[in-house]
Symmetry: C2
Subunit: 249 residues, 2 copies
C-alpha cells in the first residue's frame, strides 16, 4: 500500500483493485466495529442524519479519517439513497481449524454469496472457505447482500478444494449433493470432530468426485422441483446441522 | 374473454391485463402439464431446438394453438435466450381447507415470491394464500423465479387476513415472528389439525397483532443479524415443519 494511499482518488469497484467499500450507514458501522484496522477512509454525504454521529464517534476513537464528499458518493454508489461509504483494504483471514466451516465451491452469484454469508453468521458459523472460480466476495454488491455480515467472518479463498483440505485440519465433510444420504436421518455424537458443510455452484452443484468425500447428504424434498435454490439449500442445511439430533444409542 | 381473444396481439405484461405468459421451454412445459385449460397460445422462436418438439406434442394433444413468431418473443421477453412463450389466462383456485397452507402477508419482492413458491412445492405444500398488498404472483418475473412451480399450486389472494380466515377451515396458525417461541422446541401430535405457516413482509415482518394468533414461532438464531432474509426464513421454517419431532409423551 503506497504511503499516499489515504489521499488517492477512490475509483468505482473493480475486482483487481486493492480496496473495496461499503455503501450505507449500517454496513459501514459493521465494517468499523469488526474490521477497524482495515478501514482507510469514511466518506459521508452532507445529507446524512443521525447515522453520521454514530460513524463519526467510531472514526474518532479508531483514528479513521472522515470526509464529506457527495461527488465521490455519487460516483461510487449506484443508488441515490447512500449517505455513507466505508473504504477498506481487502484482507485475508486464516480459518480457525477447530471450528465448523462452510465451504462454497464455485459460487457464481453475488447476491447469493452475500445472502449465504448473512445466513451462516446468523447460525453461529464464523469461517467461510470459497473455492475459485467464484463471485468476488469483496464486491460491494456482495457486501450489500450480506448486510455487513461479511465483516464478522473469517473468509479465505483457495484455488482448489485440495488447497483448502491442506489447511482445514482434521474434520468431517458433508457435501450437499442430490444423490447423498437424507440429511434428516443422520445422527451425530458429541465427540464428533468439527465439520465442514460443502455447497456447489448454483447451476451445476458439486462435481461427482465429492461423492467420495466424507458423508454426502441431501435435503429430502419432493421431485416436483429438480433442486432447491442454492441460498435456500444452504439456509436449510446450516439450520438443520445446528439443530440435529444427537445419537443417544 | 372476447371470442377473438385467440387472435389478439399479446402485449408486454402489466398487472391489469387478463393474461400473463411464461418465458422459456421448461416453465412453458410446466404450464402446459399443470394448467392446460388456461393456456391460450404457445409462441415459439425459429431457433428453438428439441424443446420445441416436446411443446408441440403437448399442444397437439391439448388442442392449444402454436405460432412461430420471433418478433413477438422479442417484444415480450427481456432476455435474448427465450425461445418459447406460453400465454395463459390468469386463474384463481380455491385452497384445500384440509391441507397445510403457506400464507404470505404483503410479500413485496417478485423474486422472493417466486423462490418461496418453488420452495413450498419442493416440500409438498400445494396451497398458498397471499394477503394484499403484494407482489403480483402472475408477473412473468415471479413465474421465472418459481421455475414454473407456480403452476403446481393452488394460489388465492385476499384483501385481508380475516378474509382468508373465513375460508381456510379449522386449523393451527404458526406466525413467524422475531419474538415468538423457538420453533425448534415445539413438538406436535399426529392428531393436530392442518396448519398454516405465516410469513410477513421482507422489511416489516408480520404486524404485532399476529402475536395473538395461534402459536407465534421464531427461528432460533444469533443476534449477529437482525433477522433472516424472508426466503431463507420461509425455507428453513417450511423444511423444519415437514420434519419436526412428534410428541411421544
Amino acid at each position: 500500500m503506497p504511503a499516499d494511499f489515504q489521499d488517492m482518488k477512490i475509483r468505482p469497484y473493480k475486482k483487481d483493485l486493492p480496496y473495496s467499500y461499503t455503501c450505507g450507514v449500517f454496513p459501514t458501522i459493521e465494517l468499523m466495529d469488526n474490521c477497524p484496522s482495515a478501514v482507510l477512509r469514511i466518506i459521508l454525504s452532507e445529507k446524512i442524519g443521525k447515522g453520521g454521529d454514530l460513524i463519526r464517534e467510531r472514526a474518532a476513537k479508531a483514528g479513521i479519517p472522515v470526509v464529506v464528499d457527495d461527488k465521490t458518493i455519487g460516483r461510487l454508489s449506484p443508488k441515490d439513497n447512500c449517505f455513507a461509504i466505508g473504504v477498506f483494504t481487502k484482507y485475508t483471514c486464516a480459518l480457525d481449524a477447530i471450528r465448523n466451516h462452510i465451504v462454497l465451491v464455485n459460487p457464481s452469484d453475488m447476491g447469493n454469496l452475500g445472502t449465504i454469508i448473512r445466513t451462516l453468521t446468523a447460525f453461529g458459523f464464523q469461517d467461510l472457505a470459497i473455492i475459485r472460480p467464484c463471485a468476488d466476495p469483496f464486491d460491494p454488491r456482495v457486501l450489500r447482500a450480506s448486510m455487513g455480515a461479511a465483516f464478522r467472518i473469517r473468509l479465505s479463498m483457495y484455488d482448489t478444494f485440495e488447497a483448502y483440505q491442506k489447511v482445514c485440519g482434521d474434520r468431517e465433510f458433508y457435501p450437499f449433493m442430490l444423490n447423498g444420504t437424507p440429511m434428516e436421518e443422520l445422527t451425530f455424537s458429541k465427540t464428533e470432530r468439527p465439520y465442514s458443510l460443502l455447497f456447489g455452484n448454483e447451476s451445476s452443484g458439486l462435481p461427482d468426485r465429492f461423492l467420495q468425500l466424507g458423508t454426502p447428504v441431501r435435503i429430502t424434498h419432493e421431485n416436483t422441483v429438480d433442486s432447491l435454490n442454492l441460498t435456500i439449500a444452504a439456509g436449510i442445511g446450516i439450520h438443520w446441522f445446528t439443530h440435529r439430533k444427537e445419537n443417544t444409542q
